[in-house]
Amino acid sequence: MAPNETDDTTTAGEVEEPRAGRRKAARYVVPVTVMGVAAATIGLVPALADSGDPDLPDITAAQLIEKIAQSDVERLSGTVKITTDLGLPDLGGLESGLLSGAAGGEDGEGGSSADPSGRLTELASGTHTLRVAVDGPDRQKLSLLENAAEYSLIHNGKDVWGYDSASNEVYHATVDEADAEERSAQQPPATPKDFAEEALKAVDDTTSVKVDGTAQVAGRDAYRLVVEPKQSGSTVGAVSIAVDSETGMPLKFTLTPSSGGSAVVDIGFTKVSFDRPDASTFAFTPPKGAKVTEDTEQDRGHGDFGGKPERGPKSEEDLAKGLDGLRMLGEGWNSIATFDTGAGAGLPTEEEAGDLGGFLGSLGDQVKGDFGKGTVFSTRLVNALITEDGKVYVGTVTKDALVKAAEAGK
């Protein structure tokens, strides 16, 4: 074969000089085709995998809620994907820098990067993958998957372990056996079930609940329960809960805002199994050389473990419970919490937090009404109005509804 002759073993015999040019171009069809096929596959596979909604016997909303309530899944393991988009400014690395700065403050505040309270707030923004394993009320494990690292929270009998593999730090607290039952009810809300229960608590006559067809979640057949506020003025558009048809276990929770767009909170199993998880999953001994932070104060440990990252429709109610002079205005989804900071000055945060307060102030919108002037801080779910005389109105309602409430309250 001459040096300049092309490799023609495949097309030997039919090669003619004039065809060479065309054949040359034709060879480039191969990589282009490969790319095209790949692009098509990437686009089509999810569509094909979505094999349509499963056929399930009809069920009423009341029966479905009953099913959720009766669901007694004791054992499960699975992967949960959490996406939250509250519409907060994307602080990216800055935010995690602040968090780790606060958590990794070494001996300063006695904080450990393995302390659960700091770590679970990370879930409040962005997309995270969690692993959940539950074996009865005594043994649970929750792992937050990070890049090349993992944060695990393990409850096994009377021990509660937090392990941060990135810094090799361990957090340890003990619970009374008698306490365990109560404690298991205080698991951080990470699974769709926890959120579904929160949402169903809000169901009253201001809410419409219906079963809206079926869906496939994590390879299981599920009913879709849609909870919608009847009144207008709420920022909550709809809450959709996919409920496993067999076990009654909520598999996916989606909260869409009334303003449209992507879901504010989307939590769903991507993989789930109702088999008993391997016992070794819950076994934990601090690795050699790991820094162990003992949480000796029972109360603190208690609060930490139960400290929920508040997000449910009623969260602001719980959140503000501790504040004096708290009043609730309106009802159902449109309820607004209001309290007087007593500062008599708008934006108390500005003085208290210094630069950060000023930064926050610049994020708000100025509004005017019968109550005077105020600043509205909006996210896609929760809006807050702080008037210049120090009154705060917070709710999962639109800005206009807040202003109206403030005017009525005057």
Partner: protein
Amino acid sequence: MSRAETVSASVQPRPLWTLGLFRDELRTTFRRWRTLALLGVLAAVPVLVGTAVRIETGDGSSGGGGGGGPAFVSQITNNGLFLVFTALAATLPFFLPMAVGVVAGDAVAGEAGSGTLRYLLVAPAGRTRLLLTKYATVMVFCLAATLVVAVSALAVGALLFPLGDLTTISGTRITFGEGLVRALLIALVVAASLLGVAALGLFVSTLTDSGIAAMATTVGLLITVQILDQIPQLHVLHPYLFSHHWLSFADLMREPVHWEDLTKNLGLQVLYAAVFGSAAWARFTTRDVTA
């Protein structure tokens, strides 16, 4: 008809021929001083990391502190096996792909530049087979480079730090033997992660007659892709960048193993290998070899 006969005649010795060609390629590649120097640099990285961690923690404090630095670095002092993972995590973003880029970029362009390509083509191997042989050689280099890092790290880790049962990043314990198996799996996955760069380098190599230009372009593309991967505004592009899922090899240290990103990574590498491999084939089989 005579033509068809020569074709079928050249089919007969094909397996042996290919094997011989492959062996020759391997020998030339691994005998080059350049290749040996690259492997030497790669072997030195774990030594550096290990020594640094050892000196830093010599006073008995546990390393890491706050979780900065490359992955797994905080666990090294307690278990030398973690040095393997740290070393791979430290070399995978740049050193390893750069070495692969140099070897792949030089594969065809270097031969063309020094005028030896036409002699290779005189042999009745055919261009497709020559290209496949070149790619196979680069693949072997990917594996060799990764194993050099891993073995060097294991040796340094065993020398400087204790070995024993280890804690996975999920908090469960596995035996040292299982840890070794995982380390081997991780090395294989890391080697496979480099296949995309290898195919890209080979394609660039078929475009030019200058080995230096091909190497520089490949390494330049590598850096560009790494930078693009860091820009949050381009997140739509990220899943398609060959380096995006590289660090997913750490998912093998979870219990149970988290396969999602691992399979994405391997799938992406196969895709890059297919696209740029076939592009290299299209270019190489139709190009005029004048040098």
